[in-house]
Symmetry: C2
């Protein structure tokens, strides 16, 4: 039986899990709470990739005997061994925990309910599925990574009320305000990587890192194809600790030679008949590099390619209260795409709305 | 001194005032509350154009002696006599009311603080300016009408995320959902008149009346200019009790002759050098006809003209969670226009945002 208490502690797990945001990828965000006689005995979270899992941290931190206690965690405890840390399932059993309450089962085929089954066989009362939609939302990057072997893709567009991103294709038009800018930096700190096209690098000259908020900067990915990039571009400066990948043709790789810092990688990619790099190729490449989430930042052509490819899981629109009346449209598509409205927020004078890919019926 | 009690009763006035919505124009929406010894003695509102004002209704309805009572009303009581009903100011004095609490002063030059002054000279304690911004919002149609001798103009655009209103200029594309449609009907019931261009009439064939909610239908105004309209258009049907004005050239008036119901008026208007009717001409015409508020419903050319004219007081965007990717943009302007975000609402899967004209600094 599920009680409001159970929900309360699962909510607490979600909150603890967020402590790992931006640091655990491609692992999931997990929090754990151990409760005995209605008292919280210990809490844990997965703080960083390669470090203790949430359950392990909570069990290790506990200073009292855990026999008969309840373990809450938002993801099924792991049972597989081909990874950096030992599995959590034996720890749970050894600690004498009598009840385990879970939000989501781990879709990883090496876990996928096996852990629940094993714990039940050991006489532990296991409940799963508590607030599972919220749990899914929290770990959407992870679920996408495991199930579809692709990073979660969010396309973020800052535009005018009439859907223009700039006055023309060869000039930058700053539309949104300070609060929106902060939000974008918050997103960058959450996503493993951000991506922009070579036009955006040339015209907007963005740094693509995190400055307006606390947090680590993401990997910066530039789709260059055959286009030349200026070595003076800001994205290449400040780059001492920031990884930059330039996806380009073989010629550009050779031209780059050894002229760049070692954290700037020129990665040769095949070009399709239009002279572009296929979106699927890019996503497969990122998956192999353990990039679990990608924030697409611009511009018009890149937005259009990602949307048309069908690989846009999340669309984030930041709309400034300005009607440009003419200029460059945010996207150009061959056919319309429907989304599902997820939430609306106000950032100063701007409107932010978050949409999700509409699942095929 | 202003107390929270005062604010509470002024809020009640706002609520009562709304009972007249859609029925009092070009008069203001006014509610009145009479309080004695902390008890509400009577309430009134301006229910319909030509009927009792709120203060008069409240005073007449009261069944006890009002001497020493406080009158709350969201607008300064009237004092002028060149109108349908007798002035309220003498009624207030005669009733023995000792305190009057007002939200907004009446900007009508025939009132404009005179009434407050007269009441004060009679020994009444008068306070004004309580929640005056909220009062201004409630009566923005009225204030615009009185101060600028133009109707309040709201432009309502239903569009895709990327700012398109249809797939192309010659086909209707239904974008928004049922809840947005209901909201548009709610707006129609509030505004004195709705306006559409001849292209919209031809392609979308709207009825422009109120069906999805309770309320009276607005005047329907069609900008036809030199364009021919089909007599079969839906806007001309169902028209038994609905007034339609066709703004057109002299030739179209003659062509229409006596072929239409008498509630359908063809009004000859001068065309400018582009062959269009000037927006200012239209607004002056509507002002003279006592139209206090206008909802502009389409399409692309009409939206563009109203926005570019500078006579758009309010912009209402209904955005469907669809990226069309190509098609007809909502507007085309020579120069950008900045707005101020007023509020955001969610209608089902659609986003509504309400913007206001940015006042020149």
């Amino acid at each position: 039986m599920v009680s409001n208490q159970d929900k309360k502690y699962i909510e607490r797990c979600f909150k603890l899990a967020l402590k790992g945001r931006g640091k655990v990828s491609p692992n999931p965000l997990v929090g754990a709470v151990i409760v005995k006689n209605d008292h919280v005995i210990s809490e844990g979270w997965h703080a960083e990739f390669g470090k203790d899992h949430a359950e392990a941290m909570a069990i290790k931190k506990a200073k009292v005997d855990l026999s008969g206690a309840t373990l809450y965690c938002n993801l099924e405890p792991c049972i597989h061994t081909n990874k950096k840390t030992p599995p959590c399932y034996p720890l749970v059993v050894q600690a004498g925990i009598k009840r385990v309450v879970i939000s989501n089962l781990d879709p990883n085929p090496a876990v996928a309910g096996n852990s629940v089954e094993q714990m039940q066989q050991q006489g532990i009362d296991v409940v799963s599925g508590i607030l599972q939609e919220k749990g899914w939302e929290l770990n959407r990057f992870f679920f996408k990574h495991i199930k579809e072997k692709k990073p979660w893709v969010a396309v973020k567009i800052a535009q005018s009320i009439d859907g223009k991103i700039s006055k023309s294709s060869h000039e930058q038009t700053w539309l949104t305000g300070e609060e929106s800018r902060k939000y974008v930096h918050t997103l960058r700190a959450e996503y493993d990587a951000v991506l922009a096209g070579s036009n955006t690098i040339r015209i907007d000259d963005p740094q693509l890192n995190v400055r307006a908020v606390l947090g680590r900067s993401p990997f910066k990915i530039i789709i260059a194809g055959k286009q030349k990039l200026e070595a003076q571009a800001k994205v290449f400066q400040n780059a001492a600790n920031e990884t930059v990948w330039v996806l380009c043709d073989e010629k550009t790789v050779q031209r780059a030679g050894n002229n760049y810092d070692k954290n700037i990688r020129f990665i040769p990619c095949p070009l399709n008949h239009k002279g572009h790099i296929d979106i699927v190729y890019i996503l497969d490449l990122l998956y192999k590099e353990n990039i679990g989430s990608l924030l697409v930042e611009g511009g018009h052509k890149v937005f259009s390619s990602f949307l048309q490819s069908g690989y846009c899981d999340e669309l984030i629109i930041l709309q400034a209260p300005i009607v440009l009346g003419q200029g460059l449209s945010s996207v150009h598509l061959q056919s319309k795409i429907e989304f599902k409205l997820n939430f609306i927020k106000k950032f100063g004078n701007d409107i932010c709305f978050n949409l999700r890919k509409k699942q095929a019926n």
